[in-house]
Every structure is written in C-alpha cells, then in structure tokens.
C-alpha cells in the first residue's frame, strides 16, 4: 500500500490515512475520495524557467510524472544538477528518480516542485552515495494551494559519505516531503534541515527517519517553520541508533512560530537509542514571536510589520545559513523573504 500504487491502480483505498501511525496528521485517504485520472503529458519546452536553472550544469525535468529520471556522478566528478518536478492540471501522476554518486563524487541537487492545479503527484527518489561521496540536496517546494504532493526519498550512505539536505516549503492543499536515511556510521555525516512557511489553509509534512546502523556516524537536524492563518505543519523526525552503533552523535531540533490562533503545528521528535555510548539530543519548541524582542525593535523605530518580518526572517535564517551552495542559498533566502513579506 502506497501513494505510488494508489495512483497506478487508481484505488483510493490504497492511500495512507489517519489510521496509519506515520500518516495520522497527513490524512490522504480521508481527503481523496477518488484518485484523479492520469495527468496529460506536458510540452516541456513551453514551461517557464525553474528557480535554479541558472545555477545548474545539467537540467532534468520530470513533468506530470514523465521525463528523464536518472542522475549519475562518476568517481571524483563534481556537478550541479537542477531537478524540476513539474505538475500541471488536475490529474494524478507518479515518477521515480534515481541518483547514483560514485566514490568521491560531488553532487549538488537543486530540486524544485512547481505545481499549478488540483493534481495528485508522487515522486519516489532513491539516492545512493558511495564511499566519500558528497551530496547537497536543496528542495524548494512551490506547490499549488489546491495540489496534493508526496515526495519520498530514500538515501543510502556508504561510510565516509556526506549528505546534506535542506527542504523549503510553502505547503500545498496537502503535502508530504519524506526522507528516509540508512546511515552506516563509519564517519559518514548527515545533515537534514527544513523550513516551512505556511499561510492560508496550506499543509506541509516534513517527515524524516534516520537509522544509524554502525559506529561513528553523525546526524545534525534543524527544522524551523512559521505558520499563520489556518495553516498546519507536521514535523516527524525519527532517529534510531541501532545496537552497537556506538559513538553516534545525533542532534535534532524543531522550532516553530505560530502566528495565529487557528494555525497548528504537530510535532513528533523521536529518538530510539539501542547503543550505550552515544551523544544524542533533541529540542522542540513551538511558540510565538518574542514580545520583548518585538518591543525592542519597535522602540528603535521599526513599525510592527517590519519588526515582525525581520525577526521571523532571522528565525528561519539560521537554517538557510547552513546551506553550502551560495547561489541556492540566495535563491531560497529571496523566496523566504518574499513569503514573509519583508
């Protein structure tokens, strides 16, 4: 049972829903009574430019589930690839993308979800990093307010590999961006960050699961978000440290600002530790903007809206600053500033 097979068979009963523990806050089954007909093929040439096109060596477009879907990086090769997942119309579609980075390859994936319409789209990604490979994945999810998107990535790391990810989303009618990582230890490094900026009735679900299977692995995770109006954010972060995975160092932080009484944040940080000698911590806060800081800024002359925008931008800026790719950092910073009305 999965979103991909529900789309393939057009059987809504296969969609996950609130009775599934991992999906209880992102109920697709209750939302979608009937899986829409398959989406029509798109003329890729007629699409406007994507947000990262200018930064990439290579451009891949998956439009309504169709298109080239493999990224390969040779041993020692370095490249920047823009991966555009485009949805148009009211149909349903699913796509698979595989990414293979060979020994000591270096890849930056600039992934964008660009939607218009009341579509149901699913993308399954399999990322495989060989020894000493370095990957930074930046995901900018700009879905339609009527769209439903599910992105499910599975990441396999080899020892010595480094995978850093930052998801940024404005949500959708319902949206789930999921990352599952098999962490082999062995001095592999993982960073899994996220930013959600949700307004109106939008929904976003950032779900991650990391399994540390052996000794000497690190995971750094920082997710921050802002919800207003009647928006709803879901953060589910799970880190499992298996028996024997000693000297694992894992840190998870999730911090949200709720800017209206009717907005909602559901957070479930989980650390499951079966090893003895580990350093793990998690922190989770949900609150409003600091009134004292707000008054301080206003006393210095900033109108309330300016002060709020400055402080909110700074709040999520901590996550954006962790992005290595400078050009992408600028793109997403501008995206965030626009959404926050600064």
């Amino acid at each position: 049972m999965s979103v991909a097979s529900a789309i393939k068979t057009r059987d809504a009963a296969e969609l996950p829903g609130k009775r599934d523990e991992d999906w209880r806050w992102t109920d697709l089954r209750g939302l979608i009574r009937q899986v829409p007909a398959p989406s029509a093929a798109l003329d890729v040439a007629s699409l406007p430019a994507g947000p990262f096109d200018a930064l990439a060596d290579e451009l891949l477009v998956v439009a309504n589930g169709q298109g080239a879907a493999h990224i390969g990086v040779e041993p020692g090769e370095t490249k920047v690839v823009a991966l555009r997942i485009v949805s148009r119309g009211d149909g349903s579609h699913a796509a698979r993308v595989s990414v293979d980075v060979e020994v000591a390859g270096n890849l930056t994936i600039l992934e964008s979800y660009e939607g218009e319409g009341a579509y149901l789209g699913q993308t399954g990604l399999i990322l495989s990093l060989a020894k000493d490979a370095v990957v930074e994945r930046i995901i900018l999810a700009a879905d339609d307010a009527e769209g439903v998107t599910v992105s499910q990535a599975q990441v396999d790391l080899a020892p010595g590999a480094s995978f850093a990810q930052t998801v940024l989303t404005g949500g959708a009618r319902r949206q789930r961006l999921e990352t599952i990582v098999r962490h082999p230890g062995g001095h592999a490094d993982l960073r899994l960050d996220g930013v959600y900026l949700l307004a109106d009735k939008r929904h976003a679900d950032l779900t991650t699961s990391v399994t540390h299977a052996a000794v000497d692995g690190t995971t750094q995770q920082l997710t921050k978000g802002v919800v207003r109006d009647q928006a709803r954010a879901v953060f589910q972060g799970k880190i499992i440290v298996a028996e024997g995975a000693d000297r694992t160092d894992a840190r998870m932080g999730h911090h949200a600002l709720i800017l209206s009484d009717r907005a909602e944040v559901d957070a479930k940080p989980e650390l499951e530790i079966y090893a003895d000698d580990v350093s793990c911590a998690h922190g989770n806060t949900v609150g409003a903007l600091d009134e004292d800081a707000l008054f301080y800024a206003r006393q210095r002359g900033m109108p309330e809206a300016v002060a709020r925008a400055l402080l909110t931008e700074a709040f999520i800026g901590e996550v954006i600053d962790r992005i290595d790719h400078e050009g992408a950092r600028d793109v997403v910073r501008a995206w965030a500033a626009e959404r926050l009305g600064a």
């Binding site: 210095r300 309330e304 400055l310």
Partner: protein, 248 residues
C-alpha cells in the same frame, strides 16, 4: 521638551505610577533616582509605549505633542530613545542590519530620504571608533553572546547612530566596570546639546559622577517625592531612600 503631568499607570491592573509629574526642558539632563520597585522602569516603558502598560490618568507630551497617542515606533521616529536596562539578544540579525533597518524606518516615518549602504557604513565606522567598539562585532547577531558591558555599549552605539532628541537611560551603569562606564558616559555626553534632553534613571549615584545632571528627582511610591540639584544625588548616596520611601 518632555512634560509629564499627573501620570497614573497600571501593569496587570496594579497601579504602579500614581500621579507622576515631571518637566525636562530641552538642553537639560535630569536624573531619576529611587528605590527598587518605585516605578522607574515602568516610567520608561510608559513613555516608550510598551504593551501591557496602561495609562489610566494624566498625560505626557513631547514638544507639546501627545506622546501617549503614538505607537512605540512612531515615538522613536519623533526622537524618543530608550537605552534598555537589559538589552535584548536578537539571534540571526547582524547589529548593522538591525540598526540600518531601524534608522531607515525612522527616516521614512519622518519623510526623509533613506541612508544608502555606503553612507551608513561610513557613519557606523566613525561612531564605532568613538565608542571603541570592534567593527567586526557589528557584523555579529545583535547582543547575542555579548557581555553585559558590551550590550550597554551597543545601546550607546545605537543611540549615536539614531541620533535621538529625547534619551532615556534605564540603569545604564549596571554591569559596567569603570573603564566601560567612562566610555559609555563619554558617548552619552557627546550627545548633550541644546536641542536634546535626557532622563537618566539610576539606582546609584555613581553614574551621575560621569553624566552630570542638571536636576535630580526622587521617585518613590509611583510619584516624584523630591526634586533638587545634583547635591540631592549625593545626599541619597549618603542617607539612602528610607525617608522618601516612608513619605511615599
């Protein structure tokens, strides 16, 4: 300049200011001294428009304009500046960004052209040098990880950059060693001018050795119970607040 008359204010329905009257003419520096709990910080927050401080009676004007009718940021744009007793840490916002945003917001409110980035940086470098502030510190998030003394110095730097007309210093000497106190006082004294006025709120007389007041007022029980020249501060230092606290 500032005129406060019969000001009553409550916090959480508790009356803290109980008929405070005060006049600070342009060009003068007035000190407000008083025991803990007298309402010193409440006065500074009421004058600057902090939420939660409700004026129930009386008023305050700046050059004849009703201060209490304005939003906190509008008062700032009119030139009211409060140096906080406990300056806030603003994670993620470099000090320079914060101050430039504030300065340009004030200029916009006053209908003046905004400062350009090069103009702003030139001014910031000059003022930082005067206050012996390492310029690199201004690129860091405002007040985050700064010592108490550094935070106070950063308040004076902001004051110098924003060039306010009416300055309120709330316990500016707390947390400062003698060297830092001298630098801060020099920065404040540099702003003394016939067009400006200052209200220096302090528990101890020490600060007034460096920032010499024209008048000293004793605040106790929510109102001014005594006023005099600089000698009043010395008397308070010798004899304490007890007789005023009782009188209130």
């Amino acid at each position: 300049m500032l005129s406060v008359s019969n000001l009553h204010a409550t916090v959480d329905d508790k009356e803290i200011l109980k008929g405070l009257s005060l006049d600070v003419p342009a060009g003068e520096v007035h000190a407000i001294m008083g025991p803990n709990g007298a309402g010193k910080s409440t006065l500074s927050y009421v004058l600057t428009g902090r939420q939660g401080y409700e004026v129930t009676q009386g008023g305050a004007t700046l050059d004849g304009e009703d201060l209490l009718a304005l939003e906190a940021n509008e008062r700032a744009a009119k030139g009211v500046f409060l140096s906080f007793q406990y300056p806030l840490e603003i994670p993620g916002v470099p000090a320079l960004t914060f101050i430039r945003t504030a300065l340009n917001a004030q200029k916009k409110a006053r209908g003046e052209p905004e400062v350009t980035a090069p103009e702003f940086l030139k001014l910031a470098r000059a003022k930082a040098a005067e206050l012996k502030i390492d310029f690199d510190m201004l690129k860091r998030a405002l007040n985050v990880g700064f010592s108490g003394g550094e935070k106070k110095r950063m308040e004076i730097f902001q004051m110098a950059m924003l060039s306010p007309r009416f300055l309120i210093l709330d316990e500016t000497d707390s947390g400062l060693d003698v060297d830092a106190l001298r630098i801060v006082a020099d920065g404040v004294n540099a702003l003394r001018s016939p067009e400006r006025a200052m209200l220096v709120i302090t528990h101890y007389q020490r600060l007034l050795d460096y920032i010499k007041p024209d008048r000293v007022h004793v605040l106790a029980g929510g109102k001014i119970v005594a006023s005099g020249g600089p000698e009043l501060a010395l008397e308070l230092e010798r004899e304490g607040y007890e007789k005023y606290a009782r009188a209130a």
